[in-house]
């Protein structure tokens, strides 16, 4: 939290803004994050009836019965979750700024890795690894031998 606030305060244009006002957006995001995951857990557990999960060895009839039994709460719970699902975006956004250098390293590595895989490794393999063993030249087969009936 402090990192985000300190980054924002680097801008000289913001230096006149009171420190408390600068951090309010971070507080709102953090509290939204907490409320969203609370609502998500409550929705999944109490409305979606996803906890405990149905056993994997249940039959089709049992699955259909389970959905028939809970269809109202599943629909209400997951419809609410569809509306508030954007909270996941806010939780991803928190800390994104401080993760920027890490993202550069990851994306850079992902770009470099195919070049290594496609060019560098095959080049070194060609230079230093023993090549495929050359096959012994087969004796030429004459047409007379090829057409001859086996004895």
């Amino acid at each position: 939290m402090s990192t985000v606030a300190s980054t924002a305060s680097d801008d000289p244009a913001e230096s006149t803004t009171p420190a408390r006002a600068m951090r309010t957006d971070v507080y709102i995001s953090y509290w939204f994050f907490a409320v969203f995951y609370g609502a998500l857990s409550a929705g999944v557990i109490f409305m979606g009836r996803a906890t405990p999960p149905p056993r994997p060895d249940v039959t089709d009839i049992q699955v259909a019965h389970w959905f028939a039994q809970h269809h109202a709460t599943i629909r209400i719970g997951f419809a609410i979750l569809l509306v508030i699902a954007g909270g996941a975006a806010i939780s991803n956004g928190i800390g994104s700024q401080v993760q920027q250098p890490l993202a550069c390293v990851i994306v850079g590595g992902m770009l470099l890795s195919p070049i290594c895989s496609l060019l560098v490794i095959p080049t070194f393999a060609r230079l230093f690894m023993p090549g495929p063993r050359k096959a012994e030249p087969a004796e030429p087969v004459t047409s007379a031998e090829a057409t001859a009936e086996p004895a």
């Binding site: 913001e14 971070v26 975006a89």
Partner: protein
Amino acid sequence: MQVLLEDENRSAATNLRAQQAILWSTPAVAAVLLVLFAAFPGFFPPMSPNMTAAQVAEFYRDHTAMIRFSMVGFNLCGILIVPFFVLILARMQRMRGQSHIFAFSYLSAVVAGATLFALSDIFFAVAAFRTDRSADLIQVLNDLAWIFFIAPIGMLVAQFVLLALAIYFDDDRDPVFPRWVAHYSLVTAVLMAPSAGAAVFRDGPLAWNGVVSFWFRNIAFAVFVVVMFLVLRSSYRREARESA
């Protein structure tokens, strides 16, 4: 020092020109998306959730070519609308009186929303991929496609709310966007949010073909893009005047 200042000015001007180029590409992208939307035979009128499995399978058999054309087109071109929202993100990063937390969250919401839209295209395309399979399976894929297309509204709602919050936190003396954009953004969120009901209702205005879930949702989104295009254009013009 003089050279450094000139370099910074040149860089800012180049940055502004690049953003304006993306902005002016938006009408072309919007026109392509509109053509693809009109090309899908299931949107005019939108297919009913009450169609039987046999009717759904027949629809996919009768319109396979146009469904494939529109959905492959959406998969290729749908993502091109993302740079437009990145322009909004870039403006949000210029807003003062806040950290960049709303802007980064906005980016997450844009990316996730675009991914969900792409998934719905894929389900439509998969339903049209083997039209000779059982009608029940085609109906399942059709349900998935429609519900993925209409119901997951959370990421769009988050976008509108985050934009509004960023504008409310902006400096009143020199705002990047006028204050009414925040109110308008919240109104759009309220108009679009009920379309989550498409995952629940099969009749009425909240069904996926209903007035609220289909027409309000899509028209509100299209109008928002048009309004934000004009707002962004005005913002760039003001920045160009100030830098000149």
